[in-house]
Symmetry: none
Subunit: 226 residues, 4 copies
DNA sequence: GATGAATGAGCCTTCATTCAT
DNA sequence: GATGAATGAAGGCTCATTCAT
């Protein structure tokens, strides 16, 4: 309530370091978010302190609060950033894919294993938030908003392919399994006990698609029609 | 489950009444573990304190440390308990199943959705540990040990069925997808945005099995041979 | 939000001091309130920290929060204590006085200069709260509640004496001036530039009463009727 | 009062517009002092920060320190300003009064309730310093210097009137009561529980003077001799 | 066994001050 | 002159742990 100490404060601290200043406001925020991600990945949610983040970013303790006001807001901003990045990644992949539903689905599935996104750090960072989502409504919102768009797209493409191929599957359940498998592969890649490569992960995913949609997918990827 | 200990809670400092206060050592530990699970489910890992647990169990602050020495050990013991419970659950299901591989696989898959195990509290509790696993070797061990046996059993049964049916699938990848789907269904059931019933979850899982093993499974369950 | 540090805490602190424990809860609170008063008197409101209070009381930092939850509540409790003490002081004086209005008024006026209450520490402590009252509704309440009873009693006795003596004064304004003079004397006694004794203060007050009520008071005190 | 500086505030980093930004040194200081008084009145001493003052003045954070070097000096300068203003107010009132002691005393008493000085903001601002005076020698000096001249003048005029009227009163004590009453009226006007007008306040004061000096004062004011 | 007062390390946060621009 | 990013000291508070009773 009353930060009394500020009033006396005659202690002069010998400043030596001629630190470079004046990074742009946004660049600084970005730098701090990046540092936060690294620390979260390394130490987990419950063990991450503002001092860790400041040290990781190479700035003073107080600067973090100067730019984010509170730890809570820093963590929320970081989650927001990751969610945006994730969404933009699969959206961009979709936009770059051909017109066929199978190609678009393949692009979406492969996007999750894009080397830029699918790094150990990102995986660990997502994971660190995971346990807190349930007890933090704000985080849950972020997750939900993200998921909803992704799920709907997955269901839509699945429905299209099912119709095309006359596969007689339930699109919602099929999309679910595809999503779970993608998620599960991420988790496996993170955990030490089942270390396999991104290539193997993607192959597992396409092999599943090939079981669902044998005339549209092989374990190697989509079977684009001539 | 452990109702006895709970009942003494409301009596405050009854110094005259010679209240029975000596619950057996194990019962007390069990009571504290149960309280820990409830608190973890409600508040998440980072927000759970020993005071919360003590209050939830209706005992004094110091008693928790008396029985578990440290917070860390309490949390580890709780994880151990849940892991044991989980393992015993699917092991028991397997033992109660018939001799056919498909029946045994079905029993294993269904075990995850046993109402005793698949409660919102258990789901949330598992989830709360999840984010910490990466940065805590001890937790990781627990998880791994648990998973390894489960995965191996799943792969073995899958291989058996694949051989029986001549499905030409990769048993490891198939088992993976089954496992991911089971995990994913749990997560979905926990998160608010896609609330479906255990029955629907199990149906999704069997529908997947039916796609993999069409001559052994239907979306309703295993096709036991006459 | 997340006190992360508690989780690791393997640092063992060599405990040496065999501090006497288990003072009763109320005694401890009282001890801390007394320490707070001393610190407030010495350092003023804005400069008082919980560490100061803890050091003054000879206990650890955390104990203050253990008993009062927050600094705010400690300060409020301290104000409450002083207000109660003040009220009880003049109430007791009234109860010990004779039946005549003049005697009762004299007792009330003298009560403010009771050596137990009118100490430099008490004066300085009241003063330290004074500047904060305006911006803290809670404090204002305490002050108001206290003042209202005091003012009403003063007005009532004044009215009685005015009626008795046929002085033709306004009771409300007369009571006001008596109250302001008492307050002003306190302040003067506190400030260094006009240090006079309690006796001189009280004499000033009775001299004023003698001007208002010449047939009831002399500068030495009330003129009790034979 | 100093509206010019306020007007440039909303313009953010207008790098092209050659805005007039150089207010004179003194005007800037005055502007900051005025802002400080407003903030002190609103938030109290312990809660006033340099950021608050800067925001209130519509200037940047750093400018405050540029002009005052430290928070301490700003607060001291503000107190100095208020003390000067107060002294000049009653001095001017004295100078404007007639030659009779009673008129001069009346002018002095009325000066405290001059609408320019006796504003809620000024009252609250004085009050906010009050609690800190005891623990800050510098503030005490300011207060003392101010009071001494005021008190001496009050005592001198009282003595003169007492001699004129043969009232047989002690001039020092009489002056004290007049001063306390003036102070008390200010405090009452500030506190919410006894909200009366300046007119009523002044009437209370004159009524007191009429009791002390019945041949020189009526409750309406001084009885100037023909 | 059980209680709860007591300790103290470490956290988040505030904020006076400095200084590059 | 003026800005506002940056620093770091200090404060309030939390809470795991200890221990007298």
């Amino acid at each position: 309530m009353i930060p009394a100490g500020q009033m006396q404060a005659p202690i002069k601290s010998a400043k030596v370091i001629p630190l470079q200043r004046k990074i742009s406001r946004d660049a600084r925020r970005q730098q701090l978010i990046a540092a936060t991600m690294r620390v979260l990945a390394r130490k987990g949610f419950a063990q991450t302190t503002l001092s860790d983040v400041a040290a990781e970013a190479g700035v003073s303790h107080g600067l973090v609060n100067f730019h984010f006001e509170s730890k809570e807001k820093l963590l929320t901003a970081t989650l927001l950033f990751m969610a945006d990045e994730y969404r933009e990644n699969w959206t961009a992949a979709l936009n770059g894919a051909g017109p066929h539903a199978a190609d678009r689905l393949a692009a979406m599935l492969a996007a999750d294993f894009n080397p830029d996104i699918c790094t150990p750090e990102r995986l660990a960072c997502w994971c660190s938030y995971w346990g807190e989502v349930q007890s933090r409504p704000l985080y849950q919102q972020e997750y939900s908003a993200n998921d909803t768009a992704y799920i709907e797209m997955l269901e839509g493409l699945s429905a299209e392919i099912i119709a095309e191929g006359g596969y007689g599957l339930d699109a919602v359940r099929t999309a679910r399994v595809l999503r779970f498998t993608s998620e599960g592969l991420w988790n496996d890649m993170l955990s030490m006990n089942a270390p396999y490569t991104r290539e193997e992960a993607l192959k597992t995913l396409f092999a599943l698609a090939a079981v669902f949609f044998p005339r549209h997918f092989s374990p190697e990827g989509p079977l684009t029609k001539a």
